[in-house]
């Protein structure tokens, strides 16, 4: 992996050295993937969406300004990709689904049952948040960007981002606690629903 900055890599891509997009992919695909998982609640679709971000990086490479930070530009593309995904789901009249990868059938999967359960509960708690709070929370958690840059992406002041993140975390905490309480009251029912 080179020591070039993200900006330098993107400028190289702009000038035609497309192979350097691979380095940007290696650096950022995980946080993009995690952001999408939290935004759209669908792990398989999130992989497609990460790929779409890199397709758009190529398509819109001329719009990248070398004096601008790379992260906010990339997450602006990602935000648009997530928006388009939601629109296409609406067109297909698909409602939000449970995460696609339910419990693994492979041997040894039982050991991960507790992690899976936490993840499913967290997915449901996140899905209950208003979209703008879920978005700002996902960006705060995974983008490694300051509130100022997040605010520039979502069209809000850093102060407003701070308030939204705080409220989103508190809402998430309350929603998660409710789910845990409800499910712990009827553990057998949960098993029959989750598989």
């Amino acid at each position: 992996m080179s020591t070039a900055t993200d900006k330098e890599l993107m400028v190289s891509v702009q000038r035609g050295d497309v192979a350097r997009l691979g380095e940007l992919f290696e650096r950022h695909h995980r946080r993009l993937y995690h952001t999408f998982v939290r935004l759209v609640n669908d792990r398989a679709a999130s992989e497609d969406l990460v790929q779409e971000v890199f397709v758009r990086m190529l398509r819109y490479r001329d719009t990248y300004r070398s004096d601008a930070e790379f992260g906010p530009w990339m997450f602006t593309l990602a935000r648009n990709v997530a928006h388009d995904h939601r629109q296409s789901r609406k067109r297909l009249r698909l409602v939000d689904q449970e995460p696609a990868d339910v419990a693994d059938e492979a041997p040894g999967a039982a050991q991960r049952l507790e992690d899976e359960q936490t993840r499913r509960r967290l997915d449901r708690a996140l899905a209950s948040l208003p979209p703008d709070r879920r978005e700002v929370l996902s960006l705060a958690r995974f983008s490694d960007m300051p509130y100022e840059d997040i605010g520039a992406i979502v069209g809000a002041t850093p102060g407003a981002v701070k308030v939204r993140v705080h409220r989103a975390l508190n809402d998430l905490r309350a929603a998660y606690a409710n789910i845990v309480e409800r499910e712990d009251r009827r553990p057998t029912a949960e098993n029959s629903h989750d598989v």
């Binding site: 497309v18 192979a19 679709a45 995974f142 705080h166």
Partner: protein, 252 residues
């Protein structure tokens, strides 16, 4: 300091937005306030769990590498306005050629040449469709799919280009548009089986579900039998298989 302000700081610290002095002040408060301390511990657990995700599959890396490999390693110029105009004008030009040619040959009674001209125009349509579907821009490829749908052509070359888009296009929206164009075109056609086989190779459940819906809504018994074989195909995710089983049950 109120607990409310300190709880705001707990959230800000998780996002890395707190300076050292504010952090110290928060720590002093947490040391003497059990309620805020418990609140902080819960938020930290949630924050950590949010990041506790499996890594994405290697398939995604392979697809992006393929995308990079397909892109020419040369300086790319932005799309010029005339290129877009040419894309729009090509179908019009093809229609004009057909009209003028038909008039000319019809008057001369040269019906065989009219047939030949029709064939050439069909080839031209197929070439325009293939050219649009091969563009790097997603919007151009979507225009390509719309163009083939408007043509209503049953030309094999156009069908091939659409099937290729359905199987290989990196963009979900292009693949979904290709389904809309292909399913009516291949209704009651032997090549409908190729659509069924495309279900299993799709990486996106969204595309798989759309394809299943479209096939069951427009296909006959042979398609249904082929889809039944996919119910136990391990290449399909469990929820997709469940959906297919449910749809097959409902469309009996």
């Amino acid at each position: 300091m109120t607990c409310e302000l300190m709880q705001e700081r707990i959230s800000a610290r998780l996002s890395g937005e707190l300076d050292t002095a504010e952090c110290d002040e928060l720590d002093r408060h947490l040391a003497q306030c059990p309620a805020c301390s418990e609140h902080a511990a819960e938020l930290e657990r949630l924050w950590s769990a949010l990041g506790d995700e499996p890594v994405p599959s290697e398939r995604m890396r392979a697809r992006v590498n393929e995308l990079i490999a397909r892109e020419p390693q040369t300086t790319r110029r932005p799309e010029r306005p005339w290129q877009r105009a040419a894309e729009r004008l090509l179908p019009i030009a093809a229609t004009l050629v057909l009209g003028v040619g038909l008039g000319y040959f019809w008057n001369d009674g040269e019906r065989t040449e009219v047939a030949a001209l029709r064939g050439e125009v069909a080839d031209l349509h197929a070439a325009v469709a293939a050219s649009l579907l091969g563009q790097s821009s997603v919007s151009a490829r979507l225009r390509g799919v719309a163009y083939t749908r408007d043509l209503g052509s049953d030309d094999d070359a156009v069908t091939d280009a659409l099937l290729h888009a359905l199987r290989e296009d990196p963009d979900v929206n292009v693949r979904l548009a290709a389904i809309e164009a292909l399913v009516p075109q291949l209704s009651h056609d032997p090549r409908q089986g190729e659509l069924v086989s495309a279900v299993a190779v799709q990486s996106s459940p969204l595309v798989q579900l759309s394809l299943i819906d479209a096939l069951l809504d427009s296909g006959g018994e042979p398609v249904r039998r082929e889809l039944e074989r996919l119910v136990n195909d391990p290449r399909l995710d469990l929820p997709v298989r469940g959906y297919l089983r449910d749809r097959l049950g409902r469309s009996v």
